[in-house]
């Protein structure tokens, strides 16, 4: 039986990323960090119509997905985006996944229709 798994399957990690990205406020927090650089939860809360507590929860979800990292700065924690490779990997998976979805749909249609081989054998 061929080994189907060419990479370690870590469903938790993928779920965490898509959970993180599913919420519009979390996407906006990521955008704010991308545009403005590192920020504390308090600084971010000032920009969004949500409480600081909500921002802290959003940042925790983003950190669990390895999209942001918090670094202690004195008594505060400053959050910043993790290095580009993480975001790049998500973008890569999105693009490559979509490409295979398209190809496999076409392949399925191609193999569902009348086939030349049947005509030849007939």
């Amino acid at each position: 039986m061929p080994d189907r798994h060419t990479g370690v399957s870590v469903p938790g990690a993928a779920d965490a990323v898509f959970n993180a990205l599913a919420d519009p406020t979390r996407r906006q927090v990521l955008q704010a960090l991308a545009n403005g650089g590192a920020a504390t939860a308090t600084e971010l809360a000032a920009r969004f119509p949500v409480s600081r507590q909500a921002v802290v929860k959003h940042l925790a979800a983003l950190a669990a997905a390895h999209l942001v990292v918090g670094e202690r700065d004195g008594r505060e924690v400053r959050y910043r985006l993790t290095p580009a490779p993480m975001a790049d990997a998500v973008a890569w998976m999105t693009a490559v996944g979509a490409a295979w979805d398209t190809r496999l749909q076409r392949l399925q249609r191609q193999l569902s229709g009348p086939r030349e081989s049947q005509a030849k054998e007939g």
Binding site: P2, P11, P85, D88, M93, L104, L107, L111
Partner: protein, 149 residues
């Protein structure tokens, strides 16, 4: 390291699916590219579509069961290869009652995935059956670089 996995049950036997994966006339339709595979380990692989040209190396060839190759983008002219963006594609075929279960796994071989980030446009898009691999496949990365050298 990023990995994408898809599975589909195709209404055809493994021989017919294998032909669809390897015959240029069949590939031209569903792969939407001119594809030419030297079907032996180490064989050349060429993929040409408008605006999307790739070269690669065939790895495993097990007719009716498994086909894999590495590939990377090239500019059509001159052939300027971006080995940093190499990835490995593996097809696995398995007979099932209604036809063939085809599994495709594509894993990035780059140290970091080198396609440009699509930023907020792609974030939030629904993606099914994603696999996130954190293992560094350093041996594959080395072999991809050697092939390009």
């Amino acid at each position: 390291m990023a990995v994408v996995r898809r599975e589909v049950v195709l209404p055809a036997g493994v021989d017919e699916v294998w032909e669809a994966l390897t015959d240029p006339d069949a590939l031209r339709d569903w792969f939407a590219a001119e594809v030419d595979l030297d079907l032996e380990p180490g064989g050349d692989a060429r993929f040409d579509a408008a605006g999307d040209h790739r070269r690669g190396v065939v790895e495993e060839v097990d007719p009716g069961r498994r086909l894999s190759f590495t590939w990377w983008p090239v500019d059509a002219w001159p052939e300027d290869e971006d080995a940093g963006a190499a990835s490995r594609v593996a097809f696995t075929l398995e007979p099932v009652p209604s036809g063939t279960l085809l599994t495709v796994v594509e894993e990035s071989l780059a140290g970091t995935a080198s396609l440009p980030a699509q930023a907020s446009a792609s974030w939030g898009r629904r993606c099914a059956a994603l696999v996130w691999s954190t293992h560094a496949r350093s041996t594959h990365a080395r072999s991809a670089v050697l092939v390009c050298a």
